[in-house]
């Protein structure tokens, strides 16, 4: 993979880790805690800066570079989690 520092280092992501990345990247957290069912596009703080930091963290940690179209296609954190892990396994 082009962006991987060393692709052998990458392991599957856990859903909690994805929630952690979102928690760090969002300026403001919603009243209901984030979980797999959270529809990220509905979050008030899901702006371009949040997208940027989520893309960056996932690429750094898992070697999967998400595109704008990926976020548009998917809806919940669970979708995103499955999508990233499928890509990690294929790498």
């Amino acid at each position: 993979m082009l962006s991987a520092i060393c692709s052998n280092d990458f392991v599957d992501m856990k859903i909690d880790q994805l929630i952690g990345i979102f928690t760090e990247s969002l300026e403001e957290l919603p009243e209901t805690p984030l979980d797999g069912a959270t529809r990220y596009k509905d979050l008030k703080a899901w702006d371009s800066l949040a997208v940027l930091t989520v893309v960056d963290e996932i690429d750094m940690e898992y070697g999967v570079l998400l595109r704008k179209a990926d976020f548009q296609k998917l809806a919940t954190l669970q979708d995103l989690y499955e999508f990233v892990n499928a890509r990690v396994e294929n790498a």
Partner: protein, 360 residues
């Protein structure tokens, strides 16, 4: 990747001229709909802060003119000794003739001097250095004057948050000359033209000439306003491009030059923004003290002038010193295009930032 290496060519000096007018994101609360928290977040996360912009009527030729005059005087180079000049810009005075010819006339350079423009932005300085090295090493050109300057602030819509607070202006002049000091230089350059529309001014060229409708303001889904005659940047895609291409380009150039990352004293990247710079450094595991990155917070993203600006503003003392510094220069952006070089710098006759209205 287009790789090449040179010996017997050196950089003699570099000067960067910045406009005196300073703008700061703190003063642009209206642009962000009164959202001061968002401004604070942009400052903290991306590092957007101050930028220098020209007044209407001042162009890259004017900034580079000042930089070139200072450079030639400080280097003791006579006009008749300049064999060629290259002007890197995407904000030329005219569609025709090229900026290099305009400045050639203003500087009163001899008619024996070759002059041409290079239409590149953030990667353009390194592309220009590469051409200058080829001209000198091929023989016939003992001294090449490289100008790299842009006034991107004139191309952004003031109500476009994705670009207006990002770009600043600047003009640089660099002297490349024959040397018997045995300096070696390595270059590696690339292009991905499939991304040509990620950073683009859509109208005003022959593909889409200016019309009554190309100048109409349109608000996009994020609430940013621009017309087709303004600069558009797909920030997310350009970010992805930068973090994918840059670390790889740096590693490949080091491998080509057979040098280790640790053997490089300074990494001068195109000053896009602090977030991208720290990100690239982190991916390459470079010590942040080797990566100048204050230039962008001081002057804004200066496009083709950002690398010389960082050299002048942050490495002046060390590059004018006698001890050779191994410096990796790397630019990336509009095209999409990227270019990296490893050069050995010492004893520069001049390496400084000047203000546009300072006495020469």
């Amino acid at each position: 990747m287009a790789n090449s290496s040179f010996s017997g060519v050196r950089i003699g000096g570099v000067v960067t001229c910045v406009p005196t007018l300073e703008k700061c994101i703190d003063d642009e609360v209206d642009l962000f709909g009164g959202n001061e928290k968002q401004i604070a977040r942009l400052k903290k996360t991306i590092g957007l802060n101050r930028r220098r912009v020209v007044e209407a009527g001042t162009t890259a030729v004017d900034l580079c003119h000042r930089a070139a005059t200072r450079l030639l005087a400080a280097s003791g180079v006579e006009l008749g000794q300049v064999s060629a000049m290259i002007f890197v810009t995407q904000t030329p005075d005219y569609l025709q003739p090229c900026n290099a010819a305009v400045l050639h006339g203003r500087l009163k350079l001899p008619t024996s001097c070759a002059a041409l423009d290079v239409n590149l932005g953030c990667s353009g300085y390194v592309y220009g250095l590469w051409l200058a090295h080829m001209m000198v090493q091929a023989g016939g050109c003992d001294r090449v004057l490289l100008l790299a300057g842009d006034t991107m602030s004139r191309l952004v819509h003031p109500k476009d948050r994705s670009v207006a607070p990002v770009f600043g202006d600047g003009g640089s002049a660099t002297l490349i000359e024959r040397s018997d000091g045995g300096q070696q230089a390595w270059f590696s350059l690339g292009t991905d033209g499939s991304g040509y529309d990620k950073l683009i001014v859509p109208a005003g060229g022959q593909r889409s000439p200016k019309t009554e409708s190309t100048c109409l303001d349109v608000e996009d889904e994020d609430g940013n306003v621009r017309s087709s005659e303004h600069l558009f940047m797909d920030g997310a895609e350009v970010f992805n491009f930068s973090i994918t291409v840059e670390p790889k380009a740096v590693r490949e150039l080091l491998a080509y030059a057979d040098l280790s990352l640790d053997s490089v004293d300074h990494f001068v990247f195109h000053q896009a923004n602090r977030y991208i710079l720290t990100n690239i450094a982190k991916r390459l595991k470079i010590d942040l003290t080797k990566v100048p990155m204050q230039t962008v917070e001081r002057y804004g993203n200066q496009s083709s002038a950002s690398i010389p600006s960082a050299m002048c503003g942050e490495l002046q003392a060390v590059l004018c010193g006698a001890e050779a510094q191994r410096v990796l220069l790397s630019g990336f952006g509009v095209g999409l295009s990227w270019a990296s070089a490893i050069v050995s710098l010492s004893d520069l006759s001049v390496c400084e930032v000047i203000e546009a209205d300072s006495a020469q």
